[in-house]
């Protein structure tokens, strides 16, 4: 079974506005309606996705090891990593908030990196394995990405509010920078990946 794709008919949908334009072989043109560059597929999708993914994986280590928040009080300084923040909420606050922060800050970035690796590798090996499921996986990755910023906002607000001179002050730690980088890099990785490549592999007759 061979589906009729836009690319197989020499047409490209504009990334910006969706208009179909006739395009030559590998020549990028510009969309007549909105002026964006038109490509049949996102340019260098696999290489770019890998680049952002590898950078994200490197930053993932300091993001989890270094403190994201430092509390200085009469009793000395206390450095909190993402996981110790979750543990604090679990013990002192409420377990459902601990769960939300754990999902947003720990589970989502890791699962996102893993899911994107699965997607890129499967495309590189031209796997024909369930393209529908893989497209759905990509949709989820795109959707949940920004929620990892949660911890950055929490740290920011704590820093602004807890400035109690003699009693306690909170400042952001170096882990926050690394963590912010992970969120941004994984978002770029997801944007660089072209889900149409998943479907291209199921059509083995194109040249």
């Amino acid at each position: 079974m061979s589906a009729v794709t836009a690319a197989s008919r020499g047409l490209s949908a504009c990334h910006g506005c969706g208009l179909l334009t006739q395009t030559g072989h590998h020549h990028a043109t510009h969309c007549p309606r909105c002026g964006a560059g038109v490509h049949a597929r996102k340019p260098d999708s696999i290489a770019r996705t890998w680049a952002f993914l590898i950078a994200a994986m490197i930053m993932y280590i300091p993001a989890n090891v270094l403190p994201i928040m430092i509390t200085e009080s009469l009793f000395g300084a206390q450095a909190d990593t993402i996981m110790s923040g979750v543990a604090y909420l679990w013990h002192h606050g409420s377990w459902h908030l601990a769960l939300i922060v754990f999902i947003a800050s720990v589970a989502v970035p890791m699962l996102k990196i893993m899911a994107l690796i699965v997607l890129v590798v499967s495309v590189q090996f031209r796997s024909a394995w369930d393209p529908l499921q893989r497209t759905k996986l990509y949709r989820v990755v795109e959707l949940v990405g920004k929620w990892s910023m949660l911890d950055i906002y929490v740290v920011a607000l704590m820093v602004a509010l807890v400035q109690l001179k003699a009693l306690a002050t909170i400042s952001a730690g170096p882990g926050a920078v690394a963590f912010g980088a992970v969120v941004v890099l994984t978002m770029f990785a997801a944007m660089s990946f072209d889900p149409r490549l998943i479907w291209d592999a199921t059509e083995n007759n194109d040249g």
Partner: protein, 203 residues
């Protein structure tokens, strides 16, 4: 060659399909991967304009009034969003400060103003200059506005701070919750397909 105006390619799997007429409020999905091709919004752009205007008002309130205050020994420490960014910047965390500033202030503001710039003239049958370039910017900016995540962040920090001191909710706390809803509604109603159609009509 088929007429490009009646055909649409799925942006997720590139399947070429013929456009169909939709009932009001209907959604056209790709036959192969189930991705959303387009929606039919009854009076979509009118609604988008209304939501965008309301979102702009709430955006201004959200950024001028304090979000939360902390009461310690009779002193009240309040935090606005911009104050929070400033505090991070002062601590030498300018990357984090920039990230917060961009995702909660600049990107949403650019998004709101951009939609307004397109929708308001269209409402009166005029074509705003440079609309094509602006729509292109809007599709990029859309990814980076994170008001809804910020609202959740506020809630989490409230719980964390509840042990420490008495918490005084600020005006911006409520307006941020409203902004989140209106901004999402405006983004959904701002249907690019309809915008392009309308732009074509008034050209």
């Amino acid at each position: 060659m088929p007429d490009g105006n009646q055909l649409i390619a799925c942006h997720e799997c590139d399947l070429l399909q013929r456009e169909v007429a939709l009932p009001e409020g209907g959604v056209a999905r790709c036959a192969r991967c189930g991705g959303i091709l387009f929606r039919s919004h009854p009076q979509g752009l009118e609604r988008a304009l209304a939501f965008t205007l309301a979102a702009l008002v709430l955006f201004i309130i959200s950024n001028t009034f304090p979000i939360v205050g902390l009461e310690v020994n009779g002193d009240l420490i309040q935090a606005t969003l911009l104050g929070t960014v400033h505090m991070l910047y002062r601590d030498g965390m300018w990357i984090v400060a920039g990230l917060v500033m961009f995702t909660t202030v600049l990107a949403p503001l650019a998004h709101i103003l951009g939609m307004l710039y397109i929708l308001a003239p269209l409402r009166f049958g005029r074509r705003p200059p440079n609309s094509a370039a602006l729509i292109r910017v809007l599709t990029e900016v859309k990814y980076w506005g994170m008001v809804e995540v910020f609202v959740l962040g506020v809630l989490v920090s409230l719980v964390k701070l509840a042990d420490l001191a008495k918490i005084v909710p600020g005006i911006a706390l409520w307006s941020f919750a409203g902004l989140m809803i209106l901004f999402t509604a405006a983004t959904v109603a701002f249907d690019q397909r309809q915008v392009w159609q309308k732009l074509g009509e008034v050209a």
